[in-house]
């Protein structure tokens, strides 16, 4: 096992060095540069997400011969989740022909790339994360926080709690504590929770956990004293299992802890052992391998010995399925753009156009073999999130089980806040706000 891993590593290094000096790609190839992280503190998430993404690209190549005959290619650069390395990989790979889109799955790297990708006119996909105001495509033409931005996540969680209590009117006089990671990511939703607390008249307390969050005794003692009805866990990495374990220590029930989208993976609950049983978390994509697209990946990709995950038990895990859904969205954006521009290698700007017309209704999602894996998406030139729905899953000690229907965040309430923030960004950076998405696509 170890030996084969060394061999794989050596082989990958050799292939990478050949690719690095390879001549221009053929005209029928579309290239995905991947700023992956397969070692370092966040490797568990990185291997799952990028594994799922590559598995789906492989499925399209093996099963369909690419997208309308255009083969999908990719190359990975290791970032260890570090911003500097992410930018270095960007600079190294941006010159490759036929770059379709960037998918770093890192808030820090994504922030560092916004100016660069805007200048280079290539889409930046920040599925389930990134700047909330980049939802406003009028100001951020090349950034796509697909499916869910942090504000929609907040609204989805509040709506779920309301549904458990019997309606939003029942939130009045309830008490919610938000336990957040002490980082810009963790703090981003502080004002939004306040807005919802005012709107629905619930009592709110927001408590910070200093990075990395491996000690939370004092925070959970404060929570015990506050006696909240629910705790929202807005964590990251080791903070999540420690929160669940410490909650058990102070006797707070796990089924009243609601995790956000970065507190919803197997990696967040397995280390917590029994303390995680009953814990609930939001997600945009369900876990499990029962969906037709996952079955096809297993049969076609893993059957051909081209699966990306070393451990097949991780197929269908939260991060792997996020990678699969991310693959579907990228591939469908290319397919949509090809319908307009031709079945050939597209420019980054043409792929951007494809993303801005990425409309997959439940029927199309079902046709793609992803019914119940994710709900739908409806991206437009000015709405780059695409109104993703969320669902909630509960950890039973061995796997996640879906415990809610697909819930819609309160987009109408959030949109003016997003537009205001985006307008501020546009003013600060001297950006001309787009008034239409029909402008010519540069080649």
């Amino acid at each position: 096992m170890i030996k084969s891993r060394y061999l794989k590593f050596a082989f990958a290094a050799a292939v990478a060095s050949v690719l690095a000096t390879a001549p221009a790609a053929r005209a029928d190839e579309q290239f995905f540069p991947l700023q992956s992280y397969r070692v370092g503190p966040y490797a568990a998430g990185g291997t799952g997400f990028f594994g799922g993404f590559i598995d789906y690209l492989n499925l399209i190549n093996i099963r369909d011969g690419g997208v309308n005959g255009v083969k999908l290619t990719w190359d990975e650069g290791e970032t260890q989740y570090e911003v500097e390395r992410g930018v270095e990989v960007y600079e190294r790979l941006k010159g490759r022909p036929g770059v379709a889109a960037w998918n770093p799955l890192s808030v820090g790297i994504a922030y560092a790339m916004i100016d660069r990708i805007t200048k280079d006119k290539v889409p930046l996909i920040t599925i389930n994360h990134g700047r909330t105001d980049s939802t406003d495509g009028r100001v951020f033409p090349y950034v796509f926080p697909l499916l869910l931005n942090p504000y929609s996540e907040t609204s989805g969680i509040v709506n779920y709690i309301a549904s458990r209590e019997g309606g939003v009117d029942k939130l009045k006089d309830k008490k919610i504590v938000v336990l957040y990671h002490g980082s810009p990511y963790g703090k981003e939703t502080i004002p939004i929770y306040k807005l919802f607390a005012n709107k629905y008249q619930f009592s709110l307390e927001q408590i910070e956990v200093p990075h990395p969050g491996n000690e939370q005794q004092s925070q959970w003692l404060s929570i015990r004293r506050a006696k909240p009805d629910y705790v929202v866990l807005r964590g990251w990495g080791v903070m999540n299992p420690v929160a669940l374990k410490t909650a058990q220590k102070v006797g707070f029930p796990a089924d009243h802890i609601i995790g956000n989208v970065w507190s919803n993976s197997e990696e967040d609950v397995i280390p917590a052992g029994d303390a995680a049983k009953g814990y609930i978390a939001i997600t945009t994509q369900a876990s499990g391998e029962q969906y037709p697209v996952l079955q096809e990946v297993i049969k076609t990709v893993y059957g051909a010995g081209k699966g990306n995950l070393d451990d097949k038990k991780r197929i269908g895990s939260v991060y792997h399925n996020l990678g699969i859904v991310n693959g579907i969205l990228n591939v469908e954006a290319i397919r949509i753009a090809q319908a307009k521009f031709g079945k050939r290698t597209l420019t980054g700007d043409e792929v951007r156009w494809g993303f801005e017309h990425l409309q997959l209704d439940p029927a199309r999602v079902e046709a793609l073999g992803a019914k119940d894996l994710f709900h739908s998406i409806n991206v437009t030139w000015d709405n780059h999130e695409g109104d993703g729905r969320v669902t909630f899953q509960q950890w039973d000690g061995g796997k996640w089980k879906v415990v809610s229907g697909w819930i819609a965040p309160d987009w109408a309430f959030l949109r003016p806040i997003i537009e205001k923030s985006a307008a501020g960004y546009a003013k600060e950076h001297g950006i001309k706000v787009r008034t239409s998405g029909d402008e010519a696509v540069s080649n």
Partner: protein, 296 residues
């Protein structure tokens, strides 16, 4: 009205957390005491030990056998570090040795992930963490167990240092390495033994911290919890590591709960360093560290 029961709960929780910090700090003290090296790789050793142990468990090896195998691996690691890294750097300035251990920590972390993979693991050592309710004050069973383990470890080290020949040679080297060398003590052997002891501490601390956080890469970050403990207790005192840990644990929790709200929360990580820094200004060798007197 002031809630004294809550105060006691916070204080007890802090003291018990402090014991966990002490466990990590002891590993530093052992190395520093006998070789003057601040071993920054202690956190990586802790990660390596826990990851090795849990990986063996997951391959169907029983708990005691996995423990013994991991112990043997940590002994080999300790001896190898002494041979391959420290011995060639003997007589180099302390900063060189520190940088060597810094590099070593990255090598050990990388090797751990290469050998055992990047997945996170749960570790159940059979101690339930359902709290004990003592007169309304919740006390963690797991933390009590960890405190008992740490106490036993310190008692064992105290007996070892006092009543065994190797322990005596440790103390001799700690007091004056040149005098120890002059009377015939073999320093490399002592250093290899002490790195082995440090590896054992890393294993015990790794299992307890691993059961608390899960066995994952961030285990190596627990060294950051030990640093203010060392500043407070002194780099060369095991008793100092214990008392320093208790003080830092209590200060962290009390400051977070009672002072934190004034600053918007999240202060415990740096509050401990503020205390350590103040003490450093007043008493550079820590509360229990030896005062260094040099003839110039």
């Amino acid at each position: 009205m002031f809630d004294y029961q809550f105060l006691i709960e916070v204080l007890v929780g802090g003291l018990l957390s402090g014991v966990m910090y002490s466990l990590v700090a002891i590993g530093f003290v052992l190395i520093y005491k006998t070789s003057g090296v601040l071993n920054f790789a202690q956190g990586a050793m802790l990660l390596f030990a826990a990851l090795t142990f849990v990986s063996l468990l997951e391959r169907g090896i029983s708990f005691p056998v996995a423990f013994v195998i991991t112990l043997a691996i940590m002994v080999v690691l300790g001896v190898s570090v002494e041979r391959a890294v420290l011995r060639p750097l003997v007589n180099q300035p302390p900063i060189t040795l520190f940088m060597a251990t810094l590099g070593l920590s990255y090598v050990i972390e990388g090797a751990a992930q290469l050998l055992w993979g990047t997945q996170v693991h749960g570790l159940d050592i059979g101690i339930s963490d359902v709290p004990l309710d003592i007169a309304g004050v919740f006390i963690s069973r797991f933390d009590l167990f960890a405190a008992a383990v740490a106490g036993s470890l310190v008692a064992l080290f105290a007996l070892f240092f006092r009543y065994t020949r190797t322990g005596l040679s440790f103390r001799a080297v700690a007091d004056d390495p040149f005098a120890a060398l002059a009377v015939g003590l073999r320093l490399p052997r002592v250093w290899a033994s002490v790195w082995t002891a440090s590896g054992i501490v890393a294993l015990v601390a790794g299992l307890l911290w691993g059961a608390r956080l899960g066995v994952q890469f961030s285990l190596s970050l627990v060294v950051l919890k030990a640093l203010p403990v060392l500043v407070l207790g002194g780099f060369d005192s095991i008793a100092g590591a214990i008392i320093g840990g208790l003080l830092i644990g209590a200060i962290e929790k009390l400051s977070e709960v009672y002072v934190g709200p004034l600053f918007g929360g999240g202060i415990e990580a740096w509050a401990a360093y503020v205390v350590a820094l103040v003490l450093l200004l007043v008493r550079p060798s820590g509360l229990f560290g030896q005062k260094l007197v040099e003839r110039v």
